[in-house]
Amino acid sequence: MKLKIFSVVVLIAGILFATSNINAQVRLTGAGSTFDYPIFSKWFDTYNKMTGVQINYASIGSGGGIQQLTEGTVDFGASDAPLTEQQMNTFKQKRGTEVVHLPIIMGGVAITYNLPSVGQGIKLDGPTLADIYLGKITKWNDPRLVKLNPGRNLPNKAILVAHRSEGSGTTFIFTSYLSKVSPEWAKKVGNSISVNWPVGLGAKGTEGVAGIIAQTQGAIGYIELAYAKQNNLPYCVMKNKAGNFIEVNFNTVSEAAAGAAAHMPKDLRAVITNADGKNSYPICGFSWIVVPRDIKNREHAEALVKFLRWAVTKGQNDATSLYYAPLPKPVQKLDLEKINSITSNGKKL
């Protein structure tokens, strides 16, 4: 009994001591995208060692992140899709200030497949890819595929379409591209983090989609660039808006963002699929950090703004080692301007 009381006292003292210790430092919290989680944890760790600021992040998914920010339970949210008009209105009503979108990192989407007899680099264009996902092209030796790939021996094999079964930013980017290049896709299916797929098998996570493709000859699917590179999967060479066939890599993805930066919307909610530019890869997009324009707690506001400035500039150096594409310089500049417009109780930071 005495031992029990003793241990309870020690425990309580420990908790009190621990909390008082943490309170000495500013602690920021964020929630949202799972896609961002690997680079965020690297950033938060590095930044903590540099400045002592502790940042906790819950990777509960983009939708959850937006919701938590709207409720005011976190300092920042992270999302793979920009907020919809409706979400922005709700935010304004609840928080009394508008939401700021900051492109924070980029991801590319590779179209991968399993055709051992053909090998790397099948050429595809947007409308053909959309028709495969609409179920209108069902064989690899379809005349349209043969025409895009002269001289390659495409087999008479059924195409098995694979897609993500859970809501994901990758799906948002992919369906955004298909909606832009195929009016039929835009009308029938649309652009969202999860959609009602006309054909195919759904699998959970990038690994799941890659698993179906690895196992099934004739399968095709879209996965994150990072994953395709790490696992040396074959991927399609995509025809971009300018009419060139482009391989997916960090440079061609950043190129797409640079092409888009010239006519970026003011609120930075840019979806950059099918971007202009000679060497732009067409299926890629931003992930955003979203924060309130005006932050009540000045201490938190200062710490957050400092961190964001660091993340969109120096932080980008960590991107390629984790298989993200870094933000190109013009977008970094736009981000910094946006960050400067964040205030605390109406006062500049």
């Binding site: 799972t34 509960i60 998914g61 983009s62 939708g63 959850g64 937006i66 919701q67 899709a81 919809t84 409706q86 979400q87 059924a158 098995l160 079964s165 859970e166 809501g167 994901s168 369906t175 299916v189 649309g190 652009n191 969202s192 983090i193 999860s194 959609v195 009602n196 797929w197 195919g200 098998l201 759904g202 699998a203 959970k204 799941g208 698993g211 179906i212 196992q215 099934t216």
Partner: protein, 342 residues
């Protein structure tokens, strides 16, 4: 008359213990009397306390149901009964119908049971009635071990072993043998309803077999002895035992069904995740639990989230209905058995 004469110290010790016992008893009594004002307090207190726990469980279920209802009010208002009769699940156009998932959940679970019940009860009969004891112990341990394997591991095994085997061997064979059967139409991908049913059957097998074994073991030996004494063969004795244990075995099957209906991870990895209703076992499908797990994290709009919670409510209600149905079934077999033993 005392046989052993006690020593003085022994007596003193006994006195001391008796007194301290009385003292403790007295103080406890006064404490409880103060609270409850009755003589037989310990019992009443204990009874009330356990009653409270039992009521808490009941309240918890009501509370869960209410909570899900109140958080799905948007989609209940918008779709009404259409939610469980519509076959479209389209997050982009914000149209939600749960029928394909209800179908997928029920069909995959029942198919799983069709495979698992004969196997599970067969295993139980062997372990309880026929196996020599040196074999029974390790075999029981192994079947129970199956129950402890995390479901994601079953899922991985499904993707890497079961699915390729189904796709390359079993499904082409079925299509060759029964080319016109409505059960085996469509391209053999491996992923689909059949794969989900097989995974589920393996997962519920240990539950059914270990509970059934315990039930068979609890059948009184007098039953066996009486049957053997009348010259019954092993098979005849087994029949008698099975009929004696009928209601318990049914309970084991229902517990298995409960696990199958709620299973999420392993199923989502092999079922193909396609919200459609198809009679073909080779076609992909979807279950309620899988869809909730897949889409909950990224459900951005209120209506979408409400629809997912309503789907959970539907799953909850279906589970309750199945359990009530099972209770009735167990109860009716028990009654029949009491009227005409064996």
């Amino acid at each position: 008359m005392e046989i052993v004469k006690e020593s003085d110290t022994h007596k003193k010790l006994q006195d001391y213990f008796r007194k301290s016992r009385e003292k403790a008893g007295a103080s406890r009594k006064t404490f409880l009397t103060k609270i409850l004002g009755n003589n037989n307090l310990g019992d009443i207190f204990f009874e009330r306390l356990t009653l409270l726990f039992a009521v808490l469980v009941f309240l918890l279920i009501i509370f869960m149901g209410w909570e899900m209802y109140s958080h799905s009010i948007l989609s209940i208002r918008k779709f009404g009964w259409g939610f469980i009769t519509s076959t479209t699940w389209d997050p982009y156009s914000q149209v939600f119908g749960a029928l394909p998932m209800i179908y997928g959940t029920l069909v995959s679970s029942f198919l799983g049971l069709i495979i698992a019940v004969p196997l599970g009860i067969g295993v139980a009969i062997f372990l309880a009635e026929l196996a020599p004891s040196w074999l029974e112990k390790p075999l029981s341990f192994l079947t129970e071990l199956l129950a402890g394997i995390p479901s994601v591991i079953y899922g991985l095994w499904g993707i890497f072993v079961l699915v390729p085997w189904l796709r390359d061997t079993v499904e082409p064979f079925l299509q060759n043998e029964f080319p016109n059967s409505f059960l085996f139409q469509g391209a053999p991908y491996g992923f689909g309803m059949l794969a989900a049913a097989i995974i589920l059957s393996i997962m519920v097998l240990p539950i059914i077999s270990s509970i059934s074994r315990d039930i068979l073991k609890s059948v009184p030996n007098s039953q066996r002895e009486a049957a053997y004494a009348l010259g019954a063969t092993k098979w005849e004795v087994t029949k008698i035992i099975l009929s004696y244990a009928k209601s318990g075995l049914l309970g084991a099957v229902i517990l298995g069904l409960g696990r199958a209906i709620g299973e999420t991870m392993a199923v989502t990895m092999v079922i193909g995740n396609r919200p459609q209703i198809s009679t073909s076992l080779l076609d992909p499908g979807y279950t309620m639990a899988s869809l909730i797990a897949n889409e909950f994290t990224e459900a951005a709009s209120e209506l979408y989230l409400n629809s997912l919670i309503e789907l959970a409510l539907v799953l909850f209600v279906i589970t309750i209905i199945i359990n009530i149905f099972a209770r009735l079934l167990v109860w009716s077999t028990e009654r029949k058995w009491k009227l005409s033993p064996i």
